[in-house]
């Protein structure tokens, strides 16, 4: 089983979702007796890739591959797939991957199982996807032939990524004749950005337990120290203490950050559905019976007004 992992780079750095996908691929290889190769379109990252346990690192270089343009990337991958005949092509499910992996599937006429949250070996290699907005999971298998799979951010953890030492091999691609029907312009950031909680890695969220509007400042400071965003459950927004764009829950946003730190939130189901997909849920509430503890990874039964100020200084000291 030959697994080829496409590694995305951003500004010369390896994209973390690709790296997680590489880890996942190593696990698949271990369980199926396969090999893993890494593919890059940029030499900035190849030596780092060579330090991981892969059978080889493939590098395709061309001026047209310096900046992401789906049609050029597609043709490059098409050429490489023809030459290398991988059984599985792996992507990290990043925004960039969304912009070409499905088209690659149609180009090569092989299925793409997208946005997988994991895999398991049963009769066959089985891929797990989260469906119906996280309410259910599905198990998919590819019955025959080569295929593409993309893994969701957080499906695998990069600590434990095996190291090794691999050769870097240049592969040639022919990008002449690729249509210029897609022409990207310069990237830019918007001057005034609306709050997008779905992009935050860390969310500090407050509930009724925050008590008064003045106390939100403490939570805000904590979120700043952690480099995250502040959010709230419905009662806090209803009281006008935070804008509705910061509401998490069934009538607000659905989030799944690396860390969801809930302060004084009891855990009504309307709120839970908006955050239960978070990778690490830490709940601080003085009520030991708060339903939110049921889905918490870590729980603290305690007074947020005693703990949070110490937490803030503790974090500041450690940095």
């Amino acid at each position: 089983m030959k697994i080829l992992v496409y590694i995305q780079q951003d500004e010369g750095k390896i994209n973390s979702v690709s790296l997680e996908a590489l880890k996942g691929s190593q696990e698949i290889a271990a369980q199926t007796g396969g090999t893993v190769s890494a593919l890059s379109f940029n030499s900035d990252i190849t030596s780092q890739l060579a330090g991981y346990n892969v059978s080889e690192v493939l590098l395709a270089e061309d001026d047209n591959l310096n900046i992401f343009n789906p049609l050029f990337y597609l043709k490059a991958m098409e050429d490489i797939a023809k030459a290398e005949s991988p059984d599985i092509i792996v992507f990290g499910h990043s925004y960039e991957a969304r912009d070409w992996a499905p088209r690659l599937s149609a180009r090569l006429d092989i299925p793409l199982i997208s946005d997988c949250i994991g895999f398991k070996m049963e009769d066959k290699l089985t891929f797990i996807r989260s469906i119906y907005q996280g309410k259910l999971n599905s198990d998919s298998v590819v019955n025959k032939g080569a295929f593409i799979v993309s893994f969701q951010s957080g499906a695998f953890r990069v600590d434990g990524l095996q190291s090794g030492s691999a050769e870097i091999r240049n592969v040639t691609v022919d990008l002449s004749g690729v249509s210029d029907s897609i022409s990207p312009e310069e990237k830019f950031q918007e001057a005034e950005q609306a709050v997008d909680l779905t992009q935050a890695d860390v969310i500090v969220s407050v509930g009724r337990g925050i008590g008064k509007e003045e106390n939100i400042e403490m939570a805000r400071e904590l979120s700043k120290t952690l480099g995250g965003e502040i959010a709230a459950s419905r009662p806090v927004v209803d009281a006008g203490w935070l804008e509705s764009s910061r509401q998490v829950g069934s009538s607000g946003q659905t989030v799944s950050p690396k860390l969801y730190l809930a302060l004084g939130i009891s855990g009504a189901i309307q709120h839970v559905v908006g955050m239960k997909g978070s990778k690490n849920i830490v709940v601080i509430n003085k009520d030991a019976n708060a339903p939110l503890f049921e889905i918490a990874d870590y729980g603290v039964v305690g007074d947020i007004f005693e703990i949070v100020p110490k937490l803030i200084s503790g974090i500041q000291d450690s940095q």
Binding site: R103, L136, P184, Q193, V300, I315
Partner: protein, 259 residues
């Protein structure tokens, strides 16, 4: 300007989902069916383009019989015509095969633009728009937050990138564009619009209209199930000082959100 909008019928976000005994399908008696959220935004974007630049908007859906409602709603909002693709032999096709079914239906229409929602709220594959682009030899854009027609043969789209970045991209027509939710304010179907639905046509497409190799699939879903709750909450105890120390440790070394 001839625009096609792909709309899918999905369960309402708050519907209670019960898995049927076959572990593959849902019990449908308690489901409220709605048009997929991002598809609504795609439809509105298409209607706005039609209002500004003239042309036709054709709504297309692939689904079970109840999905006809999705086309009715689109026609009531201002789409000119509908295409209803339905057949029980489509039930187990994977998204690539479904793309082939849809492509073979839409091919002869020679659309300038195909608009789709970014992803469906049920399977969430997020692939169809790009699959069609490839099969129908169109340019494509996804995660689109804005559109602008430049001239008869060019459209500019604003794409959302990670980390708060954006990028405008020029696409030569024909183009397949996947629209992100929130791009516009979907209109209501007016009384007049609802009454006009009777006068508009919906074309039916079944498996006999599709070439046979589109009807094969290499992907099987073995089962659908409720995710296991494997969580064991670890309680952190001690004085506030001790607790905050342990939390800092946790954030630094385990969860790794601190540098």
């Amino acid at each position: 300007m001839k625009i096609c909008v792909l709309i899918k019928q999905v369960p309402d976000k708050d519907s209670s989902l019960t898995i049927a005994d076959d572990h593959l399908t849902l019990v449908e008696n308690n489901i409220t069916w709605v048009s997929n959220e991002s598809d609504n935004y795609a439809l509105e974007e298409a209607l706005l383009l039609k209002e500004k630049h003239g042309g036709e908007v054709i709504a297309c859906t692939l689904g079970k019989d109840s999905a006809r409602q999705v086309l009715k709603d689109a026609l009531a909002k201002g789409a000119d015509r509908g295409i209803f693709i339905s057949d029980s032999s489509f039930d187990n096709l994977d998204v690539l095969s479904l793309g082939k079914v849809i492509a073979s239906t839409l091919e002869k229409e020679n659309f300038d633009i195909i608009m789709s929602g970014l992803q469906s709220d049920d399977q969430g594959n997020s692939q169809l728009g790009l699959i069609l682009a490839e099969l129908l030899n169109m340019s494509h854009g996804t995660l689109v937050m804005g559109t602008e027609i430049i001239d008869d043969s060019t459209i500019r789209v604003k794409k959302e990138l990670e980390g708060g970045w954006f990028q405008w991209t020029k696409l030569s027509l024909p183009a397949s564009i996947s629209i992100q939710s929130g791009i516009n304010s979907p209109r209501y179907a007016t009384l007049k619009g609802i009454m006009m639905v009777k006068k508009k046509t919906v074309d039916d497409v079944t498996a006999s209209d599709i070439s046979s190799d589109a009807l094969e699939t290499n992907v099987s879903i073995n089962k659908i199930y409720v995710p296991d709750k494997t969580k064991e909450t670890q309680f952190i105890e001690g004085s506030p000082e001790e607790i905050s120390e342990k939390l800092v440790e946790l954030f630094k070394n385990d969860i790794k959100v601190l540098n």
